[in-house]
Subunit: 137 residues, 2 copies
DNA sequence: CTAGTTGCAAAGAGTTTGCATGGCG
DNA sequence: CGCCATGCAAACTCTTTGCAACTAG
């Protein structure tokens, strides 16, 4: 778990700090790249992608799968990991909503029992339409 | 609905026919491109993408959102549309499983009532690990 | 000192677009 | 004949890789 796996560089610190500061939000690689372009400490995007990969592998970050055309989303994971909540993404405005409740419970059980498939809520994003966009339509 | 929206060309026919012939399976743009490269009637990939977009917009195809790095998936929709079933994707072997049952029902209702969000099962892919991969681990 | 790290630029994968030619209706 | 469709290549977006210079431990 606590893989030393690498040096503790300024860039690594800065990237992790930035993502942690966003805590409950998701961050895209593009956002991070843009952020550091405007900062005093410019970080090459290759470095950012490399850290995103490493941090995800080491378990410090979670990578969400969303529609590939706008890039992947990352989020920092606190010390306790079992806060596996679902995400909903609106297919109109692109808003990503965090579901804090345990709504997946029954479905998860059903799929495991009947279909021998273990759902990983942390990676799953449900698509649909949010209230705002429905009202506009 | 029945938008004439375009001519009835050989390419359009061939592409739609190919996807329909896969009926219950999903097809990626890359598969279609590869298929027609090897056929007697070569179709440029621009044409394939353009038709994929049009067919999706007109409702003849459904586009699934999967991890962007391997491309989107498409599937033909028969005349009756209400067969909105879920998909499960194994994050180890990449297998995409079709769930024929109505397992989403309760969750869908809960999310709509409590979170004012209308889930679109046809676009949603649940991630997790399939039985085969679990056994190997 | 030595192995991991950085940054640039080039390479890749997937998808979109511009433009001249070709084909449906 | 007019408009849409086609195909090629170039453009684009997101991500990865090669490589020489650099730095943490």
């Amino acid at each position: 778990m606590t893989r030393p796996s690498g040096y503790n560089t300024k860039q690594r610190e800065a990237i992790l700090h930035y993502i942690i500061s966003r805590d409950n939000t998701h961050v895209t690689a593009a956002q991070i790249i843009r952020y550091f372009e405007k900062e005093a400490l410019p970080i090459g995007k290759a470095t950012i992608y490399r850290h995103l990969d490493k941090l995800t592998e080491s378990g410090a970050l979670r990578r969400y799968i969303t529609d590939g055309l706008s890039g992947a989303c990352y989020q920092y994971i606190g010390s306790d990991d079992d806060d596996a909540h679902l995400h909903l993404k609106c297919d109109r405005c692109g808003e990503l909503v965090h579901l804090e409740c345990d709504a997946l419970g029954d479905l998860e059980r059903h799929v495991l029992d009947e279909h021998a498939f273990h759902i990983n809520a942390t990676k799953t994003v449900l698509y649909g339409t949010c209230d705002d966009c429905l009202q506009k339509a």
